[in-house]
């Protein structure tokens, strides 16, 4: 655990106390769990869970209020033909669209998540990042998705990474903080594990893999390592931290593999949208299609699912 106030030395000690990761063995574990055969009622309950855990996302330069309202409508009722499906967990947008989303979602229970801290690069001063977060919270964001300073991390300046997370968390107030590690830029699973430890020590409510702007985004091995970091943190402190793989998860089949990882690494306590989210923009329709296939035995044309 970290001594307060944190110093360069205490951060180094924290990073060095993190167990190393054997990449070959981690990938093997993921491949083995990827062969779990999820059928019938367990598949249906998984797909419903995936919807309820989804942060339905649009993060484009071309986003408009119209687009955001359409996405909110989809998130509140994923399939207009039926009322028995859960809503998504949140709508994830740029700060400029928080107010629109807030108004569109009303009292639906769907949260507004906003990226902040000069997402996706985060290459500005801490002051600007903190202002960005404050504005987002003021505009009504329930959840803030921040990016860590990968440059500082790779340069070994763990204290800078840590202090930024600490400052952003303070600026969040009551909003929940998801810390994006951008694992595609970290290079090794050892780094993923270290960055996870720093983010959790800094006060993250969730740790999140990716911005979706860098390839590879979320992968199963990265997610396994982050879940293992969460397990370790929980064993040491008793504190539960959430997990959000984001980017690149496009099929229902893939999303179920993530749930298998979650279930067999952290167990049922984490199996809800309070502790697990999918950051995705195109996953939802495949999930809806698979649900209809499970229920009717037939695949329907993509034209029967709304594109928003």
């Amino acid at each position: 655990m970290l001594t307060q106030p944190a110093t360069t030395q205490s951060l180094r000690t924290l990073v060095r106390s993190v167990p190393t990761v054997d990449e070959v063995a981690a990938k093997e574990r993921v491949a083995a769990l990827g062969k779990r055969s999820i059928k019938k009622e367990s598949k249906l309950s998984a797909l419903r869970m995936v919807i309820s855990m989804m942060d339905l996302t649009t993060l484009e330069g071309k986003d408009t209020p119209g687009k955001v309202r359409q996405l909110c409508s989809k998130g509140m009722r994923p399939d207009p033909t039926r009322q028995d499906l859960p809503t998504v967990a949140a709508i994830c947008v740029y700060p400029a669209h928080i107010a629109t989303a807030r108004a569109a979602l009303g009292d639906s229970g769907v949260k507004v998540a906003s990226v902040a801290t000069y997402f996706p690069s985060g290459q500005v001063s801490l002051e600007v990042k903190v202002d960005d977060v404050r504005e987002a919270v003021k505009a009504g964001a329930d959840e803030i998705d921040m990016v860590i300073d990968r440059g500082a991390f790779l340069a070994g300046d763990y204290l800078k990474v840590f202090e930024e997370i600490l400052a952003v968390r303070a600026a969040c107030g009551d909003a929940h903080l998801k810390v994006i590690l951008e694992t595609g830029e970290l290079g090794t699973l050892d780094n993923v594990r270290r960055a996870s430890a720093i983010a959790m020590a800094g006060g993250a409510h969730f740790i999140k893999t990716s911005t979706g702007k860098v390839s590879p985004a979320a992968t199963l091995p990265v997610t396994l390592v982050m879940l293992e970091a969460i397990r370790e943190h929980h064993a040491a402190t008793g504190e539960m931290i959430g997990m959000k793989p984001a980017g690149g998860i496009r099929t229902a089949k893939d999303s179920i593999k993530y749930l298998v990882l979650l279930s067999e690494t952290l167990g049922s306590a984490w199996m809800s949208n309070e502790w697990f989210r999918f950051g995705a923009s195109s996953l939802l329709n495949d999930v809806l299609m698979q649900i209809r296939w499970l229920e009717t035995g037939r695949y329907q044309s993509p034209d029967y699912f709304t594109k928003d």
Binding site: T20, V21, S37, S42, K43, P86, E264, M271
Partner: protein, 489 residues
């Protein structure tokens, strides 16, 4: 109204996903496969083979007697002298390739039958056993016409008729380890599968016939220890290859002393799985789990002794304890089953007796909280903590899902403890330090040393033991040596 409830902390269960067994047809009785055809045993004796997960009888197979073995050896001798021995090596290779391809085509059928007869999880027979079986046949098919390159300037020759006796833990894989190199080197074989797992070997016999393999090249004779003794004692057998218990291995060696028969033995083990404090811990836990619970621990090279550096003992045991509870024990045909059935009532008794000896000695243990089926033979994954070298559970091979944990303080002590057994088949090392892996591998007296992994097999890699774990190597170029006459003979 849309359902807004947030689904909290869901108990998500996997629905049963059972591999159907329809594609496997099991005859009610099986004769002996001698000289290319199934024949009845001369004295008509049969014995049942059961599914250890349900105790239901699957079939009834012949118990080969001395007269049957004589017929099988005569067929093998004739095939060796008239057909297989004189055949061009490239032609022999074609048959082996054909067998390998047929094994791949019928892989699922073999996997299901292996699971039915032996109790191992379908995910292992489907993803590990049978793919490896085909891989070993492909690999040795490649050597068949290249023996002069494998051993240049020696002009190696086949030995003749090999008598091969294999165990019940990997019925098809052990068959492949025995038959593929023997045939590639130009020998013919009489093979006895284990008493409790004869069915896949008999299916393999059918496959040999389908492949058009000349009569008598492969003979499959079923039976118990008496059948095995008849093979060992038959005067016209040139070589015995045995995989099984150290006790039987010693008896075989005594029996053939002075006969001129060649011998390779692959016997028991008490593999040390060594975890250093700088290991990638979460992966090491998976390695330890795989090392001892793979195939219910019915693995001669299992990592059945966990040697953990004392400074991380508590942490590692905590992780193992929670991991044990996520192992899925049950119906071997369920695709999500991790640990299947114990192979036989006799083996279950042996496991129970050794665990009782550990408890009587006052050693602490914990077990998986899984529910065990009521029918069939089952044992919950078990971990003993704080075992001493002098406990029976640290010295004797349990051959079941039971791990004995000990601690060490320094690398020297780890080596001393790891080597301090009559066995020497396998060992595993988990550390981030590459130089330490090499230092350890130099000093561990074990035929296989795995680094940051465990229970990995490959046709190109030789496998075999030191000390009471046997001698001779199977797999790789080394695996050809026991089946060839050369300066080493």
């Amino acid at each position: 109204m849309t359902d807004h409830t947030i689904e909290k902390g869901i108990e998500w269960e996997y629905a049963p996903s059972v591999q159907g067994a329809e594609m496997v047809s099991i005859a009610s009785t099986y004769g002996l496969f001698i000289d290319g055809a199934f024949v009845d045993p001369t004295d008509g004796e049969m014995f049942p083979t059961i599914n250890p997960a349900t105790e239901e009888q699957l079939s009834s197979v012949a118990a080969a007697g001395v007269a049957d073995i004589d017929l099988a050896v005569k067929a093998a001798r004739s095939a060796f002298e008239n057909v297989w021995g004189p055949m061009k090596p490239a032609e022999r290779a074609k048959y082996l390739y054909r067998i390998a391809r047929l094994l791949q085509e019928r892989a699922r059928e073999f996997a299901i039958l292996e699971t039915l007869d032996g109790g191992k999880p379908i995910k292992e027979s489907r993803d590990i056993d049978i793919p490896l079986v085909a891989a070993y046949f492909f690999y040795y098919a490649g050597w068949a016409d290249k023996l002069d390159y494998a051993f240049p300037g020696i002009d190696p020759k086949p030995i003749g008729v090999a008598g091969q006796i294999i165990p019940w833990n990997f019925p098809m894989l052990m068959l492949a380890w025995k038959i593929a190199p023997a045939l590639a080197a130009g020998n013919t074989v009489v093979l006895k599968p284990a008493e409790t797992t004869p069915l896949t070997a008999l299916l393999f016999a059918q496959l040999c016939a389908e492949a058009g393999l000349p009569d008598g090249v492969v003979n499959i004779v079923t039976g118990d220890g008496r059948t095995g003794a008849a093979i060992v004692e038959h005067p016209d057998i040139d070589k015995i290859a045995f995989t099984g218990s150290t006790g039987v291995g010693k008896a075989i060696r005594r029996a053939i002393a002075g006969t001129g028969k060649k011998l390779t033995l692959e016997l028991g083990g008490k593999g040390a799985h060594i975890v250093f404090d700088d290991a990638p811990l979460d992966q090491a836990v998976e390695g330890v789990i795989n090392g001892i619970f793979f195939n219910q621990g019915h693995v001669c090279c299992a990592g059945s002794r966990l040697l953990v550096q004392e400074s991380i003992r508590d942490q590692l045991l905590d992780k193992l304890r929670s991991r044990l509870d996520t192992l899925r024990v049950g119906n071997p045909l369920d695709k999500n089953t991790d640990v299947g059935a114990i192979n036989s009532a006799a083996q279950l008794q042996r496991i129970e007796a050794l665990v009782a000896s550990g408890r009587d000695a006052g050693v602490e243990m914990f077990q998986s909280s899984c529910d065990l089926p009521t029918k069939g033979f089952w044992y919950a994954p078990t971990v003993f903590t704080d075992v001493s070298q002098s406990h029976r559970i640290a010295q004797e091979e349990i051959f079941g899902p039971v791990l004995a944990t000990m601690t060490f303080r320094t690398p020297d002590e780890a080596i001393e403890k790891a080597n301090n057994t009559p066995y020497g088949l396998s060992a595993g090392v988990w550390t981030t330090k590459g130089s330490r892996i090499l230092w350890m591998a130099d000093r561990l007296r074990a035929g296989v040393v795995w680094a940051n992994t465990f229970n990995k097999f490959d046709p190109t890699s030789p496998f075999g033991g030191y000390k009471e774990s046997g001698f001779g190597r199977e797999g790789g170029r080394h695996g050809l040596l026991p089946y060839l006459e050369g300066p080493w003979s």
